[in-house]
Symmetry: D2
Subunit: 404 residues, 4 copies
């Protein structure tokens, strides 16, 4: 039997860390003894624990310690180890793979916060400061952090305030009172704006199909949205509606389809591309309403990522997905809150790029996208199973009351 | 090879009958020759066809003719055959099983319309007039129609008018513009009321969870609903909300759950049952708002069918499902339109009891219930994949414009 | 400010109890100080906590204490209070509403376990021993436990063993490796049988549609099933398949539909009812294969609960849902494990009747039923989003390896 | 009132064309008179119709004629008109937008078949022969067909043979007997291979999650698959399973998750990219099993399209989606059949690129993807709502019987 002593500090009970530590040890076949435990006597005070962890073999103990490490428990206090990337995009095999929790690296005896936190990335040391870099963007020779000592992730502490993110986080259900969640979302948006943080909207084409585009356009116009992350389909549907009053060839007044495939869809792309893109199409008077129109007018940043499904595409679309991912990352800087609206593809993409601390509301007509996001550890996330058109209309109404 | 001559008359092309006749013949291994075909020269005029059907064996020909018979094609003009029910609830094995299409039986040389049309029933002759009777309700000795000659079903002709039931029937999609379908539903409700027909609402508990109960209560108050078909859960949620301001123990102001299972649910049942039921609970001032409250006040008929899932149940619940089915049938008389709101159980139950001609809007958060109804041949049905709360709020707004 | 001291003992961290206690206090607006805390030094040892809870008002403190009570935290050690039921089915307003956790009532200074544990029930004292009774079954004058002191629920402790119920509990995902969960289910069934506990199968009609009935019939034949809880539709589909080789009129060899509604469905009911019910239909040689056939042959208990959706129904169906619920309760006695197979209605009904300790596997093609069960606090439950036909075929294969 | 005479020939009833012609005329506010109608007297013989179409205004008549044109009805026999593309990717506004039906263009008095048929494309004249070109690929100055006379689309005639594509086309249901559909799929694959046409597999990551990858790998090994169209995620999951025996970090033996995000996912990408890509990774012995392994060994063509969601990505991924689309198009040449397996993104992308005549089976755990494909007019498509792992295992078993 081998053993090791680990220590932890923080809201160990409240944030469900101690329970997970116990679980991991037992699951891996180890055992533990609590040497010392001081629970915070009040809600504000952190707790402290010191455990002796035992395992039948050194490899088992290593595996346990690595898992505890991800929960902020440190077995030994040593500097992190680094090794150079072998080639562009090729990491040393022993690389540390990040979570979306805030992470700290010990360099020369000092714990340093990692910048650009996002999951499934490498930690690269550049100019002395560690930051998260996607595997494909790591350059040959850059020092890459290795798993082992000197790295600590801090799981976000569950919010105690009375926002929806406090008591509804990770709930996914079609049986919630949506009005309450939407009202809470509106309050959170007001708070985010007041705090000077960004509000990001991720939107799928169903926003237009379901008629929620009108409300979203007004939210953009009124300054509630700082960034729009989407793809070709959403933008084209929105532009088609402004230019031709149809959506995928379906008349938006009568609901009746125009024969001939999606000619109107292609027509809209053609017209906007002829004008030179979305901005010139607005400026030239071709596009006179809609979400993209309001975004251009208001100077709201938008990024359109290409997909294999696209018609056209619009000139504004970044067809290289690696470049599109970089543009998404840049646009997410400073985000305090994220609304994911009826887009499986883009919501999961953005979920992969956001730190866990950003408050996220994911709206979809089925449980599957919210469940996926919740399974990926997006902690401050509320899943709302409802019609996105409903969500946007109610949200707008709430913001007019609460938001001003 | 055996053969037989059949004739058909009606909107054979328009209602997709001729195509299905051809299909059935070939699927069963037969062949056909068109002896005569006169297409209606205008939209109003019926078409006429005379076919010679051939088959390799007499049994095959019989099977083909039976299938064509369900489409209104008659091979021989003869009276229907009847045989007495062997015992209560036991039919002669050769019984004719009904569809939800209007059906005619030839008795003494005269075609008579079948009353109480509903699917999966027997046709019983009582007092000289044929009517649909559910298998379990047939009494010993009653004459039951046998399959074979003398019975014709008339598939409903697809509507040509510009209502949603004309061009959207049997469409099921989450990507429709819901506003258009809801506006069409409102227009249809106004038309139904003007025609003196009944509007039936089938409601599941999600109507209350999603906050749509307030709008539904106002629709009942304003006379838009003639019958409510539901179960114990919906009624209890609605009553709990009036009595305790919670739904399944979740506070409807804050969205926060009250610990202790569904105590409030049971409390509401207890209080209403102590009062003697829903009507006395309203009259005594215990219940002062909600759908059931407005139904009692307005004299709207409601039927609560029991289910194995029920708590309580409320005294008003008919716990015997055979009795409950009879009460549903009685309440459906005179229905011209039916709104099915977020209830798989009751919607499919009512779908089984309605003639195909009743115009039906089925609202659910997933495709599965609308798809099921559409597969069962509920023809004048529109499936709407959206949040039922959204549907009800928008419907109310539309009715205030269109409905007056 | 008012305050109260509460104590707790058990796997407070491991079973996530302490965290929930802290949460509840803060959510309700109270505060706390940890006066004493001893964590179990090993995995086997229980922990102990003594807290001082403060609140701004006595009502708030009461509410907090009630919530803590459901988690096993006791504020004062006093006997439980009882009051007589006012009338049949009418409880005193202050009744205690049960959870599905094992519950203890303090009577004359002694903690007594409550029998027939199930959620949303009253606790009735009969012959000196407390037991759970559904609201509707309580008789006038019986002593009913009131909320307040003297009642303690014990949340189940999360399993530490390496079964699927240990590490996968309350996971619901379509992206699991199903083979692993199914293998774990098979092992658990073998263990349950060895322990002399019952295995209950709850089945919906989709078991037959999806072709899983053949595997289920073999499981019944081979003694893997002790009780079948279902309704009219499943049994009729199964019987129709044996008698006519079709399911809802769809030929099970060719997949092609037989015209004429669901004549074959009604025919099967007619034939079985003429024979006098399912058992006589098997004994007379009318039914010669299928799940119900094997159940009759093996003497496996089955209960068919009626529903408003039913055709027929079969003579074996209990059409009164209150009676059907009682029959389900009786059949669930001694259950150690429950397989819920593609039936929303019956699965939720059974979920309401089972104590949390019974290990449950819920199989459905969508997330919604498993999510609902998991939200209701069915703790030892694994949700599996897959085709029920697949589940049954694989389960059978696993049982042949593991189960013997 | 204006009028025009149109003629049609083909299986007008059988393929549901005449009914749709009537519908379109009436929906647009026109009227019609049948001047001549000859129905094919047998199943093999085509029908012929001559109609006089009337409308209140010339614009209405134009719109009606355009819609009829898409159904193969020709009002005037004239050559198609062409106009040059204004710039790269910019069409003349009056461009004809294609369907996925086989299309013919009249040039110099002769009807010519359009090559590379796919929906939502332009028809470009190159070297005298017309072909479908995606909007973005049209080059400046190329002659683009305009809507109006001289273009005819031929809706596919519904198959009369006894394959699943004959009687189950466009059925989407979770309540089918899957065994029958899978057996039919196997027979169709055998037939396709015998006819020398290609079998395309479109695969999503759920194929690996659900454990269906083993069966798919064997199908590839045994020569049942000619092309694999997928993305980075599927390939990485498959490679991770070969290299590390996990999938997304979940051990495929025990089902237990490895802590630390998706380190194994990144590790697999790293290892394969270090080797130089998938082919070298197989050749060097790094990858020794799985779908991609068998594809490399057998020389099966695979195309990996990039997505904004990707980690890594693998070197084999085409990150530019426009290039990826072109590679998909090239790989689809000669396809006679397509299996779409649990991938919304890639299935809809491929649905957009396939002519309607290619027989398609779409397998997914929810109705939504099959419903979407069916709404887009993918005619010879069967939707199967089941677990993809089940589908693949059963398909393999069927092919061993039928396919040899």
């Amino acid at each position: 039997m081998v053993h090791e002593t680990v220590t932890m500090e923080g809201h160990l009970i409240d944030s469900d860390i101690l329970r997970r530590v116990f679980n991991h040890i037992v699951e891996e076949g180890g055992g533990f003894e609590v040497l010392e435990f001081r629970v915070g006597t009040t809600n504000q005070e952190p707790s402290f624990a010191r455990l002796s962890v035992t395992a039948p073999a050194p490899e088992t103990l290593d595996r346990i310690l690595e898992r505890l490490n991800y929960l902020g428990a440190a077995a030994e206090v040593a500097d992190a180890r680094f090794a150079p990337a072998e080639a562009d995009g090729i990491l040393p095999d022993d690389f540390y793979s990040t979570t979306n929790f805030d992470t700290f690296v010990r360099i020369a005896g000092r714990w340093q916060a990692v910048a650009d936190q996002k999951m499934d990335s490498a930690i690269v040391l550049g100019g002395g400061a560690p930051r998260c870099v996607k595997q494909g963007q790591v350059k040959r020779g850059e020092p890459v952090a290795l798993r082992g000592p000197g790295i600590r992730a801090r799981p976000p502490e569950r919010s105690r305030d009375f926002s929806v993110f406090g008591f509804m986080s990770n709930d996914v259900s079609a049986e919630t009172n949506k009005g309450i969640v939407i009202a809470g979302t509106a309050r959170e948006m007001a708070r985010t704006r007041k705090a000077g943080q960004g509000i990001v909207v991720v939107a799928g084409p169903a926003v237009v199909h379901s008629g929620g585009d009108a409300a979203l356009a007004r939210l953009v116009r009124d300054g509630w949205v700082d960034v729009i992350l989407t793809g070709n389909a959403f933008a084209t549907h929105d532009l088609e509606k402004s230019i031709l009053k149809t959506s995928l060839g379906v008349c938006q007044m009568s609901g009746r389809a125009v024969e001939g495939g999606s000619r109107n869809h292609l027509y809209a792309i053609n017209a906007v591309n002829r004008a030179g893109g979305i901005r010139p199409a607005v400026e030239s008077g071709l596009v006179t309403s809609g979400v993209m129109y309001e975004a251009v007018r208001r100077g709201v940043r938008f990024v359109l990522a290409g997909s294999i499904r696209d018609d056209g595409p619009l000139k504004d679309v970044i067809t290289d997905v690696v470049e599109a991912q970089k543009a998404y990352v840049a646009a997410l800087e400073g985000a305090g809150m994220c609304l994911m609206l009826a887009s499986a593809l883009h919501s999961i993409a953005v979920g992969n790029l956001l730190p866990a601390r950003v408050r996220t509301v994911c709206v979809d007509i089925t449980e599957s996208v919210p469940v996926k996001l919740s399974n990926r550890g997006t902690l401050h996330a509320v899943g709302l199973v409802t019609d996105v058109g409903y969500f946007l209309e109610r949200l707008e109404a709430e913001l007019q009351v609460d938001g001003a």
